[in-house]
């Protein structure tokens, strides 16, 4: 009996499931249930069990070996500012920092759109306490137990459900935060408490404090969710570990989720990135540019030398935080993005989105403003009766009328021209975003393979490649559930860091670094051993945030075991200069300045067993058998109407080849193949698309 591995990605609109059972891969989809996210999960599980001809209990109790969940719960709570009533204990004189951060002004012109930081902590829930530690960890003013008691009791009286302890320089000396935590717990054992130093032991108080506050903000709802999922699974007889995903692309155990739920931020998209990295290894492609287009946004990331890039000090919604996440850049270009005319009479995409309620005009649910989805339906690329596998018939005429009235009329165009224009504009927006993640990180997009997934992207992917001169593209077979699949490719990852803030000018400083490194290694070990691994299964990677003295921003550099030898001080310096110039260009290193070691980072990875995918025989042949007829489509790239052959994906065999222009209808997505492109179904039943040289405009 084959064992089953299940990955489930709870997105904003859909809950996607990928189950791998031996050679069989099953995809299931359910609507996300916002009032209780676990329901959507069990709906998807039920659907998958049906496809495998098993009862839900049978599947979960006897066959399932792994269950991994990535979700958008933390993301939604923070975006919608729906969370618990948080209390903050903070250093006296600094209570306003969690209200204004480092200033509020956005980088755009319009004065009317400038807003203050959302106030997720009300003023009467911020308690300032007399205590002060300096940068060296010296206690200037000692914490008074009595004051903590008094202030906490007041906070509890004001109805706080969780408390964040946010003191200056807790990174240099955690005594005060820990002491306050003890006192709090002695007062009320049930209240959830987060010390800022436990979210990230790195300096910059606003980010560290905000992380602790947001952690408290989302904790109760996440904890309820994790409990609902695990107890539901247990009730079905599932006995293995219930595993969750973090935004770094690693696995979290249930306990960790309850303690530091903020780590789950952006865990859905991280699943896609991990899936991409695994796919890259399978194909032996080192550099992949990835794109995922959903209802409201287009998410992009770069897999560099087989690894996703980690971004530090990430911004979550409006808030700066200290957490590290996979570097996924998001732009407001999704199927639901609204197309309108700007004051110059030029079409623009977004940033407003129709979302799923009321949704695009063609949904017929009251949406009045034309969206990207309305444009592709009007062009004829999307078959109106095939949306979501035929579950929902789309109203093409309503879409065309909205485009005509809102966009085309103002430009002196017809609806088709306007829809094609919007198509090309959204392609340009996505291409700019991809340039952002590649060029900005010193990578030429032309040397990357484009991996396109998500429900909507295969319609635009080839055009995006064309505008970036990318010649090779992969659309995974499970495109719309690719992020769920990626969850199954992940390992347990723990990333711990600590601030040192010292100049690396003497050999003794290396000893200081090594001491901190060893402490962090110990912390990682404890965590991973808790999750059921033993030391031999864990590999460690080290890194450091360093900068030249006088700079304010650090650069992250990987460190090897030998970098911790005092005798290698000179080499370490040379290595940093080299990496710095690699990143920023020749002659940019500050050779006359001291090197400052700011943060030390330790990453522990405990490997999980992965499923193996079967290779299919794939003799090249024409995929004529999958041809199901022609359809009139307005080709947005050529700006003309044409009869285009339509193919059905299920009928294409591995090795099957199709030349553009063509449309391939997949169960839950549609691939648009423009002219001068060739698609083949490969050994992993993914779609590989090759593009001819880019033509110049004439």
């Amino acid at each position: 009996m084959e064992e089953i591995n299940i990955g489930i990605d709870v997105g904003g609109t859909h809950t996607d499931l990928t189950a791998i059972s031996g050679l069989e891969t099953v995809r299931a989809k359910a609507l996300t249930t916002h009032e209780d996210y676990s329901r959507g999960i069990f709906d998807a599980l039920t659907s998958a069990a049906g496809q495998l001809s098993l009862s839900l209990e049978e599947m979960m109790s006897k066959r399932t070996r792994a269950f991994v969940n990535g979700n958008t719960i933390v993301t939604n709570a923070i975006t919608e500012l729906k969370g618990s009533k948080v209390g903050v204990l903070t250093s006296a004189g600094f209570g306003d920092i969690c209200r204004f951060g480092r200033g509020n002004r956005g980088n755009f012109n319009d004065d009317q759109l400038q807003r203050n930081l959302p106030q997720i902590v009300s003023q009467n829930c911020i308690a300032e306490v007399s205590e002060r530690i300096d940068k060296d960890g010296k206690i200037l003013v000692a914490l008074r137990e009595e004051e903590i008691r008094e202030k906490t009791e007041q906070l509890l009286k004001n109805g706080v459900e969780a408390i964040a302890i946010c003191f200056l320089w807790s990174t240099s000396n955690e005594q005060h935060e820990k002491a306050a935590q003890k006192i709090l717990q002695s007062l009320d054992n049930d209240i959830f408490v987060t010390c800022s130093v436990d979210t990230a032991s790195i300096f910059r108080e606003f980010e560290r404090w905000m992380t602790a506050i947001l952690n408290c903000f989302v904790q109760p709802s996440v904890s309820r969710f994790a409990h609902a999922v695990s107890s539901g699974l247990r009730d079905l007889g599932y006995q293995r570990k219930v595993e969750f995903f973090n935004g770094l692309g690693g696995i979290l155990a249930e306990e960790e989720v309850k303690r530091l739920p903020i780590q789950m931020y952006s865990s859905g998209p991280a699943g896609g990135a991990i899936g991409a990295s695994a796919l890259g290894k399978r194909y032996d492609i080192a550099n992949l540019l990835c794109g995922d287009m959903g209802g409201t946004s287009f998410d992009t990331t770069l897999i560099k030398q087989g690894k996703p890039i980690v971004a530090q000090r990430c911004k979550i919604g409006s808030f700066n935080t200290a957490i590290s996440l996979l570097d996924i850049v998001s732009v407001g270009a999704g199927g639901g993005s609204i197309v309108s005319l700007d004051p110059r009479g030029v079409p623009k995409i977004g940033p407003e989105s129709a979302g799923s309620e009321p949704g695009p005009v063609c949904y017929g649910k009251g949406g009045k403003a034309p969206t990207i989805t309305d444009c592709i339906v009007s062009l004829g690329i999307l078959r109106p009766d095939n949306y979501l596998g035929g579950k929902h018939r789309l109203n093409v005429n309503a879409a065309k009328e909205a485009i005509e009235a809102n966009i085309a009329k103002g430009m002196g165009w017809n609806a088709m021209q306007a829809a094609a224009g919007a198509y090309n504009l959204v392609v340009a927006n996505m291409a700019n975003a991809l340039r952002g993640v590649s060029v900005r990180r010193g990578h030429d997009p032309r040397k990357c393979t484009f991996l396109a997934y998500g429900g909507a992207l295969p319609i635009f992917a080839a055009a995006i490649c064309r505008s970036l001169s990318i010649k090779d593209m992969i659309i995974p077979n499970q495109s719309s559930a690719f992020s769920a699949y990626g969850l199954l490719e992940a390992d347990y990852i723990r990333r711990k860091s600590a601030t040192l803030g010292i100049p690396l000018d003497k050999e003794t400083k290396i000893l200081q670094l090594e001491k901190i490194r060893n402490k962090l290694v110990q912390e990682v070990l404890v965590d991973l051993e808790d999750a059921g691994f033993d030391r031999s299964q864990i590999t460690f990677n080290y890194g450091a945030d360093m900068r030249y003295e006088g700079q304010l921003n650090e650069m992250y550099m990987l460190l090897s075991e030998s970098d911790f030898l005092p005798s290698e001080l000179e080499n370490l310096r040379r290595k940093f200069d080299f990496e710095y110039e690699n990143e920023f260009g020749p002659e940019t290193a500050w050779r006359d300045s001291r090197l400052m070691l700011i943060n030390c980072v330790v990453i522990g990875v405990a490997s999980r067993e992965k499923t193996q995918l079967r290779k299919h025989p794939h003799e090249p042949h024409s995929a004529e058998n999958a041809y199901i007829g022609d359809r009139t489509i307005f080709l947005p790239d050529l700006n003309l109407e044409k009869e285009v052959p339509i193919f059905e994906s299920e009928k294409i065999k591995p090795g099957g080849i199709i030349h553009g222009p063509a449309v391939i209808e997949v169960k839950d997505t549609t691939i648009y193949l423009p002219t001068d492109t060739v698609l083949s179904k490969d050994q992993y039943i993914n779609y590989r698309i090759k593009l001819a040289e880019k033509r110049k405009l004439d």
């Binding site: 250093s91 600094f94 002004r105 004065d111 340009a428 700079q551 405009l697």
Partner: protein, 727 residues
């Protein structure tokens, strides 16, 4: 010109391609700024975001811009146009590097802003230009950070680069590096930053060439023209919605760096004409102090900044915006059109922002009377754009030299109240988009200081129906060093940001040093000195501009930044919002009572009695306007912050719709006018202001004869005539 006409000229324009090209150039500028940001070490760049990157076509027209300082849109344009004039056709090679920081010759905002201009060559032909600039931490001269509060001429201020060549073939000249290194305080950082600027120009140049290759030169130029035309016609259409008449404003620039607090006259008028805005500025004779406004301080800070934030807020920026603007600065030798050797290092933050504030006020006056709801909603209280700057030079405990330039109180100033919301707190200067200031821990890690508190400056937001945004209050003392020397510069200590449409001015800027304080004794005794009240010592309030200030152990430097002006009568503000502001410590009990007419009681926390508040407001206004017939509580129901309406040639009160006379007449003649000394009013309400004893600053308030709502407030300085026509 309408959009449709521009689509049907000889060329066949595809609007989508046009937009793709436009966003492409913007993207190039953005990539340039990323290179700059990531390679520079200066906190002025990485945290205050005082830099920009701009792409130009061959003729020097702006086609793509990125950055955070709106005024650089003026300085970059002047610099590139000047290099073109001076170097073309013969004196230019591929890879030439030109450096610009001289306000007089190449339009820099001030000498601290060092700009690099490089040509983009394709097949030996110049196809465009790249410009990058950044405020570098030091440019030599008599004071740190390129801002010299006490310099008497531009030669004392800083080293000046009038667009000279400092490298060829993309490589910096070694001799120049040696020369410049001998003339600035922190040569390594200076040269590094110049390298960053060059690297960013290179990156931009490469992409522009790719664009030319992709579209072909002829095609691309056609689209560049088209996009410039589009922005121009969009702004022109909006300008057409402003009333066709001239509006005026006046103000004074403060300067006390020579011992006496001087005020210098400036004034401005604006007339819309055929889709263009014609600005005329005038000012007092130029002065021997760093406040004289060069061309970018006028065009960039004075005009383009309020224009982009208030009127052209949603129109993509390019040369087309400039084509809608004409600026006349009058005769030479004045504050707004100075001659060498007038000092100019703080032009942008003094005279420049005064001009910007006047233009913002003019926009509000003009928008208020527009027939278009969209345009009339753009009225706002002034943003003060006046920070408290300080730059210190000293040694760390290990003996290394350091410059401590905390941007905190310099940029953390409030924004003006909007018709749609209260003003943004810690908004910055109007010209600094996306501005932020470093964490407490970032400062303390890098420099030997201990920050004692960082919080909202209470009452700094101007009272109004919509309240102005708040500024920052912060204090620090040395920790691990014995002595630092520095300079302090602030604007707007006596004349804070004005309110609009009955709104009151915001709180002013203030800095003080609590000399020989007992902070360390307090700390040693186990307590934290986290309010000014908890510290003993001699409070030395600093003048607006001063150099060579010394800080010794135990001295506490304490700065309070200014806030934005309010919008609309504060007596119309929702009492619930007043209660919220009280609990948030954004306003004090005295301000709530005196300025908003609120009746407050305590019930575990501060509460506003809504009924009594309305009664109190009504009674107060009744005593001003005894014949008043309409209750404030009634008129507020339909009020959206617009105090005045112009319809069919007649003015009406925007609150109660009572006619105030024909448009030919001054409507203020029928109002009830009250004159109050501003300093007294603010002192009673715990709001920051420096009293001008010799010439008291007066607030003139005009109330509607029917409802008693405040229609407008005007600031005047006693004894200073304003000979401007009435708007």
């Amino acid at each position: 010109m309408s959009i449709h006409k521009s689509n049907t000229n000889n060329f066949k324009i595809d609007p989508i391609t046009a937009e793709v090209i436009r966003s492409g150039f913007e993207n190039i500028a953005d990539e340039m700024s990323v290179v700059l940001l990531r390679t520079s070490g200066s906190p002025v760049l990485t945290e205050a975001k005082d830099f920009s990157a701009v792409v130009f076509d061959a003729s020097g027209r702006q086609i793509g811009a990125a950055g955070y300082v709106l005024a650089h849109l003026a300085s970059s344009r002047i610099a590139v146009k000047e290099i073109i004039k001076k170097r073309l056709p013969d004196d230019l090679e591929k890879g030439d590097i030109f450096i610009c920081n001289d306000p007089y010759t190449v339009g820099a905002l001030h000498q601290g802003d060092v700009g690099i201009v490089m040509p983009i060559h394709e097949n030996k032909e110049v196809i465009g230009w790249t410009f990058t600039n950044a405020h570098l931490i030091d440019v030599g001269g008599s004071s740190i950070s390129g801002i010299a509060p006490e310099a008497h001429d531009c030669f004392e201020e800083a080293i000046r680069f009038p667009g000279v060549r400092i490298g060829t073939s993309g490589i910096l000249d070694k001799e120049w590096i040696e020369f410049v290194s001998a003339n600035v305080r922190v040569p390594a950082s200076f040269v590094n930053d110049v390298r960053s600027l060059i690297a960013a120009c290179h990156a931009g140049s490469k992409r522009v060439i790719e664009m030319f290759e992709e579209y072909g030169q002829k095609e691309l130029l056609k689209y560049i023209d088209h996009n410039i035309r589009l922005s121009k016609s969009a702004l022109s259409e909006r300008i057409e919605k402003l009333p066709k008449r001239t509006f005026h404003s006046y103000d004074w620039v403060e300067y006390d760096g020579r011992g006496t607090p001087e005020l210098y006259d400036v004034s401005c008028e604006m007339t819309p004409s055929r889709g263009k805005l014609i600005f005329k500025f005038s000012g007092a004779e130029q002065v021997t102090a760093f406040i004289n406004a060069g061309p970018s301080a006028v065009a960039g800070v004075g005009v383009i900044t309020p224009l982009l934030c208030m009127l052209a807020y949603d129109i993509p920026f390019n040369e087309g915006i400039w084509e809608c603007v004409e600026i006349d600065v009058g005769k030479s030798g004045t504050l707004v059109n100075p001659r060498v050797p007038a000092p100019v290092t703080n032009a942008h933050m003094e005279t420049g922002v005064r001009l910007g504030r006047m233009v913002a006020e003019i926009f509000s006056k003009s928008c208020l009377l527009s027939n278009s709801d969209e345009v009339s909603s753009r009225i706002a209280g002034q943003a003060p754009s006046a920070g408290c700057g300080a730059a210190w030079f000293g040694t760390r405990s290990d003996g290394t030299l350091t410059i401590f330039f905390p941007l905190d109180n310099l940029v953390a100033i409030g924004g003006g109240a909007q018709s749609t919301s209260d003003g943004q707190d810690l908004y910055g200067y109007q010209l600094t988009l996306g501005v932020s200031f470093p964490d407490v821990e970032v400062h303390e890690l890098a420099d030997p200081f201990l920050i004692l508190w960082r919080r909202f400056r209470i009452n700094s937001g101007g009272a109004g129906f919509m309240r102005g945004g708040l500024g920052l209050d912060q204090a620090y003392t040395m920790h691990g060093s014995e002595k630092f020397i520095g300079s302090v510069f602030m604007a707007a200590t006596e004349l804070p940001a004005r309110g609009f449409g009955g709104g009151l001015p915001g709180g002013a800027s203030r800095t003080a040093i609590i000399r020989k304080s007992n902070v360390w004794e307090i700390i040693a005794a186990g307590s934290l000195p986290h309010t000014p009240e908890s510290i003993e010592g001699r409070v030395e309030v600093l003048p607006g501009k001063v150099s060579n200030v010394s800080l010794h152990t135990g001295d506490v430097y304490w700065a309070s930044s200014s806030g934005g002006g309010g919008l609309g009568d504060p007596f119309l503000r929702d009492p619930e919002l007043i209660e919220r502001d009280l609990r948030d410590n954004k306003i004090s009990v005295s301000a709530a009572h005196n300025l908003y007419g609120a009746i407050i009681y305590e019930n575990g926390e501060l509460c506003v009695n809504f009924e009594e508040t309305w009664k109190n407001r009504e009674a107060q206004r009744k005593s001003l306007v005894p014949d008043k017939t309409l209750a404030l509580r009634e008129v507020v129901k339909h009020y959206v912050g617009k105090s005045l309406v112009l319809e069919k040639g007649k003015y009406f009160c925007g609150m109660c719709k009572t006619p105030l006379g024909s448009k030919e007449k001054d409507w203020r003649l029928v109002t009830k006018k009250i004159t109050t000394p501003l300093a007294k009013m603010f002192q009673e309400s715990d709001t920051e202001i420096r009293e001008r004893v010799t010439e008291p600053v007066m607030l003139h308030s005009h109330f509607c004869p029917q409802c008693g709502g405040c229609l407008t407030t005007e600031i005047k300085v006693t004894g200073r005539e304003i000979s401007l026509p009435v708007d």
